[in-house]
Amino acid sequence: MTTLACQSLDISIAGKNICSKLNIALEPGQFWGLLGPNGIGKTTLLKCMAGLSAPDSGSVLLENQSIDKLPRRLVARLLGMLQQHTVYVFDASVLETAMTGRHPHLAYWEREGPEDKQKALDAIRAVDLAGFESRSVTGLSGGEARRLAFASLVVQEPAILLMDEPTNHLDMKHQVRVMDLVETSVTSRQQCAMIALHDVNLAARYCGHILMLFGDGAWLAGTADELLNRENLERLYQCPVEPVLTSTGMRFLPGA
């Protein structure tokens, strides 16, 4: 089973300490929420965990091997990341773009087979873009482009999913849809996911585990039950928080 672990990870960017001595392990079946205020370094941490940038010290271990020692193609079969922004410069169809998720699984001269195409079509339907298959990506709205980027990630079938604000630009229905999809793959396919979010209540509803970044290198990691409370959230966002008990559990509103 594939795991992703951070071992005494120190990351700083432009003199700002994002995390120091971060130790966490993402195990199969776990759904992590990454919380922190704007500009605290959530994206930088996710990029580092994806092996896109090197930490100051410590290491990111993918299947117990340092991620920067592994060939990118192998990494891409095990780990996928949804970036915060998706910009499509060149014309390509929605289907073609979703199919790029198969890229790491194919050899150089290989073409996508019917199975690959089916996976892409299924993912497109799952993100509610059915009927858009032959549309050009340059004409998609922000939310549609976002769902397409998520569909490519689904098609990539990595065991580890890192997502930078996947619900950005999405309306309520599609936020829930995307989160449901992630939850399903985490539980049924034993994938693990870490999602950077601004919506505490989406985290409260879906995430079993939470990582909080406070700035100055301080962090907290643990189960959502332990960490999601008024004290931690007020410390995290530096504003009053009002816990509300709903039929589906504890939710948090900005307090007065």
């Binding site: 970036q83 410069v89 014309d91």
Partner: protein, 328 residues
């Protein structure tokens, strides 16, 4: 974009048009040959018309086709490399370096036969200069490469202007023709065919990677591309193609910019279809342009670079406008 099922027929059509364009080019010119005269001349290479076709027109048409294909592939590669639809084969200074050294050779009276080698030398200097300056140690930076290349190209431009302004009037005409791109004295060295065939096969093998690279460096890495190595490979491949093309025919403009775009409008951005389509159409387009350059004001010959622009610009604007109307 045309429907996917029409892609293969389109390639076959372009291939047939390519072959016939070369034959048509060999039949037309200051001495225009009818169908039967042409057939007789082809059968008898020793005859007067046979000599004309086999020794002058066919080699020239072949050279035009090869140069056009190279510029088209190079343009596709540069646009992916810089992730910029405005990039063309010359944007990073390859042709500038080639032009500078070639013009310098002309000033010092180097024999015409050696000029292609000077062009290659100049192109190589420019490639290594930009590569060395932009390489750095950090991650891939398209912006740094673009800036280094564009500034280097401007530097070459200034030195070319300097040479032009200091050169005697009687050599200016030849220089200007070279700068605008001219196939009058073009010969087709056999190694250039190897360059074209090799790069074409390599590019086609990398086509799916090019699709991914076109989505941005980070996306490409997340999808398993070793982007740093891959992008330098793309840079070198595009540069070698450009250098070879420029050494044969000078810096013919617009082919490398417009052909990739025209083909994108027709077949989309999947490089597995775009590369062969652009290769065929680039060759075809330049053969057609060169034939027009020879015959339009015959016996006066025009530099083919002027024709490519005069044909390419309206054609491109027309197709772009149509695409926009359809909401593509």
């Amino acid at each position: 974009m045309i429907p996917i099922r029409l892609r293969r027929p389109l390639l076959i059509l372009l291939l047939l048009m390519s072959v016939s364009s070369i034959f048509i080019a060999s039949a037309s010119g200051s001495v225009s040959l009818g169908w039967q005269e042409w057939l007789a001349a082809i059968r008898d290479p020793g005859s007067q018309h046979g000599e004309l076709i086999w020794r002058l027109r066919l080699p020239r048409a072949m050279a035009a086709w090869v140069v056009g294909s190279m510029l088209a592939i190079s343009g596709c590669l540069m646009q992916v490399l810089l992730r910029n639809p405005l990039a063309d084969p010359y944007v990073l200074g390859v042709s500038g370096g080639a032009a500078f050294v070639t013009l310098l050779g002309m000033v010092f009276g180097v024999a015409a036969a050696f000029l292609p080698w000077l062009a290659i030398l100049g192109a190589l200097i420019s490639i290594l200069l930009v590569f060395g300056l932009a390489r750095g140690t950090g991650p891939w930076s398209g912006t740094r490469l673009l800036l280094t290349g564009v500034v280097t190209a401007s530097g070459w431009g200034a030195m070319i202007s300097l040479i032009l302004s200091l050169s005697p009037d009687n050599s200016l005409r030849g220089m200007l023709f070279w700068l605008m791109g001219d196939l009058s004295y073009a010969t087709l060295p056999s190694w250039s065919l190897v360059v074209l065939a090799g790069s074409f096969i390599l590019t086609l093998g990398l086509a799916r990677s090019l699709n991914v690279l076109a989505m941005g460096e980070t996306t490409a890495r997340l999808l398993g591309e070793p982007t740093r190595h891959m992008l330098w490979l793309v840079y070198l491949l595009a540069s070698v193609l450009t250098a070879t093309a420029v050494s044969i025919a000078g810096s013919i403009g617009f082919v490398g910019l417009i052909v990739p775009h025209l083909m994108r409008l027709l077949v989309g951005s999947d490089h597995r279809i775009l590369i062969p389509a652009a290769t065929l159409f680039g060759g075809l387009f330049l053969v057609f342009s060169d034939t027009l350059a020879r015959t339009a004001l015959s016996p006066q010959q025009l530099p083919v670079g002027v024709i490519t622009a005069l044909l390419g610009v309206p054609l491109f604007l027309l197709l772009l406008n149509r695409a926009r109307l359809k909401g593509v």
